[in-house]
């Protein structure tokens, strides 16, 4: 084994550690570029526009496993889950969006709608109350 190869493998060890430490994502490790992320997003959007919601959700899930801090992706997945009738999953996705960025009123309303459909009317009202926004 050459010195150069050992150097690279030392970097690999550090990258593995950084991945576990949350300092890197899988997308960064495999080298996904912004253009590539956008292309996969467009693929999922194409499925969505053609009404293939489950497939669109799957592609978003795949993409988000590589780019878990992608708030826009989580929002689209949340909407897809809501349309697929998987309201608990949609709510969880909306909460992740809220973690990744400031949640706007429309997002909260969509989340509240899912909560109501789950039978959580009080929780939905609490989510939309003035004290819980902003």
């Amino acid at each position: 084994m050459t010195t150069a190869t050992r150097d690279i493998e030392d970097v690999a060890k550090q990258v593995a550690a950084d991945l576990r430490a949350g300092a890197l994502t899988l997308g960064q490790v495999v080298g996904l570029t912004d253009a590539e992320v956008a292309a996969v997003t467009e693929l999922a959007e194409g499925y969505r526009r053609r009404g293939k919601l489950q497939r669109a959700a799957s592609v978003y899930g795949l993409l988000l496993s590589y780019t878990p801090y992608n708030a826009g992706g989580w929002e689209r997945l949340a909407d897809l889950q809501a349309r697929l009738g998987n309201h608990p999953a949609a709510v969880a996705c909306y909460e992740i969006v809220a973690l990744l960025r400031d949640a706007d009123r429309t997002l909260l309303e969509r989340e509240a709608r899912c909560l109501r459909l789950m039978g959580e009317r009080e929780l939905a009202a609490e989510l939309l109350s003035p004290g819980n926004q902003g």
Binding site: A12, A21, V30, E36, A38, A39, S65, A92, L99
Partner: protein, 307 residues
């Protein structure tokens, strides 16, 4: 959000690596050595999903490149595990960098150092957002929402402590969401990245919240949180697997283990050594599973995974 690799260092064609580019990369292990949580079935399902996406897509170079990277990473992971896949990528990147422009490992290291710095900024923003929620008395609402989306998800969230830890909880929740909602076995696979991210964020929060400066050395603290992260990662994947399989009993068993660890963590003191011992005792089965898998890899992989 995803910074691209500097084009002056490595072009977009570095992945998949050319034949032989792996150089001193680990030899593929038999798939039977892959832990259950990284199941071959899940990876194959992911490959199928990517294959369908390829066949149904146009000729977008960016899409093709992205799918190639995902496919290659998944394929190598299927063959020899996640850590070996990472090692191979790094070796391939380094080789291409050296071949093309004469640069070496330091460029790769610098690149990832920059990415780490960017991610730290984002994580800081998330922590500040969580702190603001807590200050605005929204903390309770969050807990209620997690309870509403399911007892299992709520239990998963409880394994993390502290504000930043809740970020990890959310990402782990995300992995569970993907696991139980993505059609077919693909969910098992796609939850992997999120589980890793969840454990990773948890690790970061541990460093910030309890370790550095309050107890032993930085090295000792790193050892503590590494053990915890490995522990939580295996649990996260186990729970995800249970959901993907629709195997309620398995998921329940995993959750019981998580709850047991939570109880132990609640009683933890500042003595890092005690914490490590508690974690190992609480989850010896999972750790044994991981170690057995790692033993089948070569020394590079073992070292990478045991940091």
């Amino acid at each position: 959000m995803q910074p691209s690799f500097p084009s002056t260092t490595v072009s977009g064609s570095f992945w998949p690596p050319p034949a032989g580019a792996a150089g001193g990369a680990p030899a593929p292990a038999k798939s039977s050595s892959i832990p259950d949580s990284f199941s071959p079935e899940g990876a194959r399902a992911a490959l199928e999903l990517i294959g369908r996406a390829r066949s149904g897509s146009d000729d977008s170079p960016a899409l093709g490149s992205a799918l190639d990277k995902m496919h290659s990473f998944t394929q190598v992971t299927l063959e020899c595990g996640v850590d070996s896949a990472i090692a191979r990528i790094m070796v391939a990147q380094g080789k291409q960098a050296r071949d093309q422009i004469g640069r070496a490992a330091s460029d790769i290291k610098d690149h990832f150092t920059k990415l780490k710095a960017q991610n730290q900024k984002e994580l800081k923003q998330i922590r500040e957002r969580i702190a603001a929620r807590k200050k605005a008395a929204k903390w309770g609402l969050w807990g209620k929402i997690f309870k509403a989306v399911g007892a299992a998800l709520c239990a998963a969230s409880s394994i993390f402590t502290g504000p930043a830890g809740m970020v990890g909880a959310a990402l782990l929740l995300a992995s569970l969401v993907v696991s139980c909602t993505v059609k077919g076995d693909a969910g098992k696979w796609v939850s992997l990245g999120l589980s890793l991210a969840a454990a990773a964020v948890s690790l970061g929060s541990s460093l910030i919240g309890s370790g550095v400066g309050s107890g032993g050395s930085v090295a000792e603290t790193a050892l503590q949180v590494s053990s915890r992260a490995a522990d939580l990662t295996s649990h996260g994947c186990t729970v995800g697997k249970g959901f993907a399989d629709r195997d309620a009993m398995e998921a329940q068993a995993a959750l019981m283990e998580i709850r047991a660890i939570v109880e132990k963590l609640r009683g933890e003191n500042d003595d890092g050594r005690d914490e490590i011992e508690m974690l190992i005792e609480a989850d010896s089965r999972c750790m044994d599973q991981v170690l057995k898998a790692l033993e089948s890899h070569n020394q590079t992989t073992l070292s990478a995974a045991s940091v």
